[in-house]
Subunit: 444 residues, 2 copies
């Protein structure tokens, strides 16, 4: 993408309304624009990151055997009367009257709707287990929306719903979700810790939240240092192997890790002093097993092998996709701006032309651009007629992992410069090597 043909509305000033880093950096780097309190348009750079996160979330859910569907944003209130949650949700639920005076609502979550789909079509244990998920816009009418996309009103969320014939199978679904979430966060370049959680308005008696450590986190968290050393890494996961999955979950849930809501100081004190840590954390996902809470009230039964009917065992499992954009920035930035992990970077690499208008320099940039596009990279070419300082500041701000710096002086010697945004290291690369050396650096 040639930057002059793109839309990257950089703000020079720090926006007054932004209280936290991610909100400030998203506005400054032209990723989002607020349209109403807590409601945002995603501008080109922001949308690219959002879509990359969405893709990783989908891939890991499909890998775990979960089936994508898509439920609508506007729901009928009748289903919420059945579950008994219509009043529970209070003013956070955006209630709407349609032209015929029928009460509708903008879905804050989808347990009712998905249970209705289930009960309409599935009635036998033979069709179980099933997990459906969707990624759809939700609305929660927060009293005081703040922190940009971290606590917005309209937000993009992956929510999955598991249906099983008994508790044993439902716990396996819970465990599959925990591991697929851990893998998702790892692919996003995030260290997220599963912590025992309260269940809140979703209900149920078994829940974990996933928290990313960051100074601006909304929760105080308490954890055993051991848990931060755990990772799934490249290990092969067989989601059909119930025992293997349970063992991994055990590894990740054994060390103490709780938010202030579930924290118990006496348990915490048993951890050796040097491993006992407390920090701020951002919630980026939560999983619930709640058994028959919805299936009972809504009549979602299945016939068991012995002919008996029983309410289906359920769980629900959410990842805040738009919130993750903010969380990723909170965890990956410096004074100059964002530092995107390569898996979600809006572009893989930017070519910075130090002297727009210089024929040699433009020719070299265009050639590099073509070569890198052909090699499959997503490339931004800063072809603006701007001062060098402005170009460097913009590219450091928007945080593309690699910068290729091309200028007449280096070109005369047959060189260009490759800069890593993360550690600031610069390497002079001979132009005669063509793009070969560049590509191997980009792949590293």
């Amino acid at each position: 993408m040639y930057l002059t043909k793109y839309f990257l509305p950089i703000l020079k000033e720090n926006p007054a309304e932004a209280q936290i880093t991610s909100h400030r950096l998203m506005l400054r780097s032209g990723m989002i624009k607020q349209s109403s309190a807590g409601i945002y348009s995603w501008l080109p750079l922001g949308l690219k990151v959002l879509k990359k996160i969405e893709k990783i979330v989908v891939e890991e859910q499909v890998a775990a055997g979960h089936i994508p569907i898509l439920m609508p944003t506007i729901q009928p209130s009748e289903l919420w009367e059945e579950s008994g949650r219509l009043d529970d949700y209070g003013k956070e639920m955006l209630r709407i009257e349609d032209r015929h005076g029928r009460l509708m609502l903008y879905g804050p979550t989808n347990e009712e709707l998905v249970t209705d789909i289930f009960r309409s079509h599935i009635s036998s244990y033979k069709d179980l287990p099933k997990t459906f998920f969707h990624i759809q816009w939700k609305f929660r009418d927060e009293v005081r929306p703040r922190f940009g996309v971290m606590r917005g009103r309209e937000f993009f969320m992956k929510d999955g719903y598991s249906f099983d014939m008994d508790k044993d199978s439902a716990i396996h679904a819970y465990n599959r979700h925990m591991i697929s979430y851990l893998r998702t966060y790892e692919r996003l370049g995030l260290k997220a810790i599963p912590m025992q959680a309260d269940t809140g308005p979703i209900g149920g008696d078994y829940s974990h939240e996933f928290l990313v450590l960051a100074e601006t986190g909304e929760s105080q968290v308490f954890y055993d240092k051991e848990i931060t050393d755990l990772s799934l890494g490249d290990r092969n996961i067989d989601y059909s192997d119930q025992q293997a999955i349970a063992t991994i979950v055990q590894d990740f849930t054994k060390p103490y890790a709780r938010t202030d809501e579930t924290h118990e100081q006496n348990l915490f004190n048993r951890i050796p002093n040097e491993r006992r840590l407390s920090a701020r954390g951002i919630e980026v996902g939560q999983i619930f097993y709640f058994g028959t809470k919805y299936s009972k009230s809504m009549g979602a039964d299945v016939v068991l092998p012995n002919g008996d009917r029983t309410p289906v065992e359920m769980g629900s499992h959410g990842i805040g996709v738009s919130r993750l954009v903010g969380a990723l920035i909170e965890a990956n930035h410096d004074d100059l701006g964002i530092i995107w992990p390569s898996s979600v970077a809006p572009f893989d690499v930017v070519i910075i032309n130090l002297k727009q208008g210089n024929e040699e320099s433009e020719k070299a940039c265009r050639q590099l651009y073509e070569d890198l596009i052909l090699a499959g990279y997503d490339v931004l070419y800063d072809d603006r007629d701007e001062r060098v300082g402005v170009k460097f500041a913009t590219m450091d701000l928007i945080g593309i992992p690699w910068q290729i710096i091309v200028g007449p002086r280096d070109l005369a010697d047959g060189f260009l410069e490759l800069k890593c945004r993360k550690n600031g290291s610069k390497t002079r690369v001979p132009l005669t090597e063509g793009s070969r050396q560049l590509l191997s650096a980009l792949n590293s």
Copy 2:
């Protein structure tokens, strides 16, 4: 995907509420489930088709140089007061009061919101031309939603907005859209005819609708047979070549083609009798050039090279993505069910095991499945323990382009059968040839 692990809730009976073929077939083949009047959940098969259409739409917009953004579903009413459209839209607009009593609405279209983004960030001709597009859920509170996704209330639409410094450049944007739309429809396997159109509530004085011929179409259309012979084919389109683009548009708009809204019998009568045709058509897209209608009322000005300020020239351009799913079915079905064009088929091929439980048969199916997945195909394996007739009926109903039929009798001879859903032709293929012959057939 093994069908027993999937979710494909086939209806045996014709649903009473479905008046047209696409609605009936989408319900019967388990593509959608209604949650309220005119509001649907997309079940796995339906979602796959919706996503495939979305991908083609995005690719063709990006190829035309248009920039993806994503605006929210809930909009502030203030912007619509500025444009003067808040009252125009009447009861079709879903109005919402938030918890603070502020009037919001669920966007039926996005001219106001995108003009607000534009005026906040762009003020010079140097940043033009620009075209932004997004694919987002919209809501129009139809009095009588009907025909399934063809006239739903919550619907998925691509809408693009062009910003240019003068009319000449704006017409080029209009022409780019016409050609990118024609290419989109061709890739979808649809013959869509551009027809001169009324502008309705969007406003402006230049508009074309794209209509697919189908018996169940809502509009009567009148056209010169010559236009149905036109196609873009494989020709290389250079969207930056204003003259070349204009010439193609001229070719496609010269033959008479109008809907009943713009039809003029005296012009129609001038066409030679044998080329004069009338039929029913389904609208699958519309493009508008409306100049300064929104930029004037909302103060979206740009500075021209001579220093003057002028309201920016705009157009808007829509394709109904969810509606296209229905239109595709209206144009591609027979008495047995849907016949998907390969570009949007939910799966490329289905393997039908005639004798589930037979060891040889299952082994052959699994091997074929693995081979085809490895070759990059999206494969459904009908591994249900069902009667052969049920399997054939299901697969004809859901319309996957190719069926590989595997049974013990053919296997004993070293053969399997390849059936083309579209023309019903069956070919016996020697198993020893492995998947090679199959693959060449699938690629044909």
